[in-house]
């Protein structure tokens, strides 16, 4: 059925393959993503990895040089949205319904942040996701996120790369 995002695609083109082939475009087509400078480094079905480079203009505490928590909000939002998109059989837009962020420990000054997200359940209308931000491994996490995404309209393969979570 074409209105079920979990059923086989009519076009025969899987979102996952499009994402893998256009990894740099996923955040590259999002102005705010470009401004923050984060990018996706790997995509598997329902599982995404990315990096948020440290930049002076993203600092939240000028005394320490630690990156602002609000940068992680956008980074984790996009990782979750991309994981959601990659978990579906059809190419669809997703819109963030809600996002929860827990700050476990401060990021270290002047260091890049790695991120990982997974989409652990998909219904006809909603994708459920979670994500982690860390410097080295998930064992020493900086922040975690949990997000639900509404599945919206079908998306043309030509727009691929736009992992927009809006």
């Amino acid at each position: 059925m074409s209105d079920d995002p979990t059923s086989a695609p009519e076009s025969g083109v899987l979102p996952l393959r499009l994402m893998q082939e256009n990894l740099d475009m996923i955040s590259g087509v999002i102005p705010w993503g470009r401004r923050l400078g984060f990018r996706m480094t790997r995509v598997e079905k329902g599982h995404v990895w990315g990096v948020q480079p440290w930049k002076e203009r993203l600092v939240g505490d000028p005394d320490t040089g630690v990156i602002h928590g609000g940068v992680l909000t956008a980074f984790l939002d996009n990782l979750c949205g991309t994981a959601a998109g990659s978990a579906m059989e059809q190419l669809r837009y997703v819109a963030t319904l809600d996002l929860r962020i827990d700050y476990m420990r401060p990021a270290e000054p002047r260091r890049d942040i790695l991120g990982e997200a997974e989409c652990y359940h998909v219904t006809r209308s909603i994708c459920f996701t979670r994500a982690w931000a860390f410097h080295e491994t998930r064992d020493k996490v900086i922040a975690t996120a949990a997000g639900a995404f509404a599945i919206t309209k079908p998306r043309a393969p030509s727009t691929m790369g736009a992992s927009d979570a809006e």
């Binding site: 705010w32 401004r35 923050l36 939240g60 609000g70 956008a74 980074f75 963030t96 809600d98 809006e166």
Partner: protein, 143 residues
């Protein structure tokens, strides 16, 4: 006003926004009226999250609300020497944020000795039609 007046809390909030690189990157500012405050995020193309519909990125709105909530707590807690640290936050995306100014106000739901609970609401045309709502907890003591 004499120039040797010590900075008011409102001045300190403004200074915090002015010297935080990421708040400047967002391009937000706060208008303080006594113990109340309205934050403003002027629309800029770089804030876009979805080019097709020219909607502001949810992550930019979340960051704007987080800073608004943080500034509001700082505004009313005299004992804090610096803005409070966030523990966690939940963001509800209720409507698309279009390519125009965003406004936000934060309300402290409960001020405790160590933690406080805050809600911040962002709107565009009508305050009664919120675009995004944030609920957050901050450390306000003991750190």
């Amino acid at each position: 006003m004499p120039s040797d007046t010590p900075p008011s809390r409102a001045d300190e909030v403004a200074a915090f926004i002015a010297r935080t690189p990421f708040a400047q990157e967002l391009g937000m500012h706060c208008e303080v009226m006594g113990d109340e405050m309205t934050a403003v995020l002027p629309f800029q193309d770089k804030l876009i999250g979805n080019v097709a519909i020219r909607a502001i990125h949810g992550g930019a709105i979340g960051a704007f609300l987080e800073i608004t909530a943080m500034a509001q707590v700082f505004l009313v807690t005299e004992h804090l020497t610096r803005p409070p640290r966030p523990i966690n936050l939940t963001i509800d995306y209720l409507r698309q944020a279009h390519a125009k100014h965003l406004y936000a106000r934060a309300t402290i739901t409960k001020m405790g000795r160590r933690m406080c609970s805050v809600q911040a609401v962002a709107w565009q045309d009508e305050k009664s039609k919120p675009v995004t709502i944030l609920m957050a907890h901050f450390m306000v003591g003991g750190d």
